[in-house]
């Protein structure tokens, strides 16, 4: 399979998974954003919100790294700058969700 086809398939599959996760998250964000510290902690440490939020963050960064790399492809001409931008994007897309998920699983 061509790498671009693979990328397109990953993009479409992740967007399909993200649609219900985004809907779930935004509704819950509205319900907890003014809540007390303990309620917020409860939300992020209880199931199923713990696993759903982890999945949401992981898929959101995966999807974003694929789509933002397309923006780089469209608007950056210099190959070196494009490669550096893509590498930074990938590091960012792995580190932030990883640290957040580790953080959530260590919250008590």
């Amino acid at each position: 399979m061509h790498i671009s086809t693979k990328k397109w398939l990953f993009l479409k599959c992740s967007s399909l998974i993200l649609i219900p996760l985004m809907t779930w998250f935004i509704i819950n964000l509205v319900s907890i954003y003014q809540a007390d510290y303990k309620e917020v902690i409860n939300f992020f440490t209880q199931q199923p919100s713990k696993i759903l939020f982890s999945l949401f963050v992981a898929f959101a960064y995966f999807f974003s790294s694929l789509t933002i790399s397309e923006i780089f492809e469209d608007y950056i001409n210099d190959e070196k700058i494009k490669n550096v931008a893509n590498k930074l994007l990938n590091i960012f897309a792995i580190l932030i969700p990883l640290l957040t998920i580790i953080g959530i699983y260590n919250l008590t």
Binding site: I19, T23, V30, Y75, G103
Partner: protein
């Protein structure tokens, strides 16, 4: 290296403004805004580690007028991105390519995003 001489996309000032180009640009902008917001949410979640006292500062911001404005704006960027992504998925499945249909679905996605924003907010606030 085979892509080295690929032409770049036309820049924004080249386009003749129409619903399809506006939505395409808005889709990309809301996508970037969403990931920026999700990053801030990750920082917010991580800040829970520092305990209840430091969380009070975050809570003050979230309860302010600006905090509410940010939340409602986020409801809209999520709503718009979801609806326009469904439109993109329909195109990928081979539906809605006709210019007239593409314009109608574009308007529906744009107007629908405001309705969805209100729905998300009301459902989140347990209004129903």
């Amino acid at each position: 290296m085979q892509y080295k001489n690929n032409p770049l996309s036309p820049h924004l000032q080249i386009y003749k403004w129409q619903i399809s180009s506006l939505l395409s640009i808005a889709h990309r902008i809301t996508g970037v805004v969403n990931i920026f917001a999700i990053t801030l949410i990750c920082i917010w979640v991580s800040s829970l580690f520092f305990g209840e006292e430091s969380y009070e500062i975050t809570k003050l911001f979230l309860n302010s007028f600006f905090g509410k404005f940010v939340l409602i704006s986020l409801c809209w960027t999520f709503s718009f991105h979801i609806l326009n992504e469904i439109r993109h998925l329909a195109w990928d499945a081979g539906y809605g390519f006709d210019i007239k249909v593409a314009k109608i679905t574009g308007v529906l996605a744009f107007l629908g995003s405001f309705i969805l924003t209100i729905l998300f907010y009301l459902i989140g606030k347990s209004f129903f």
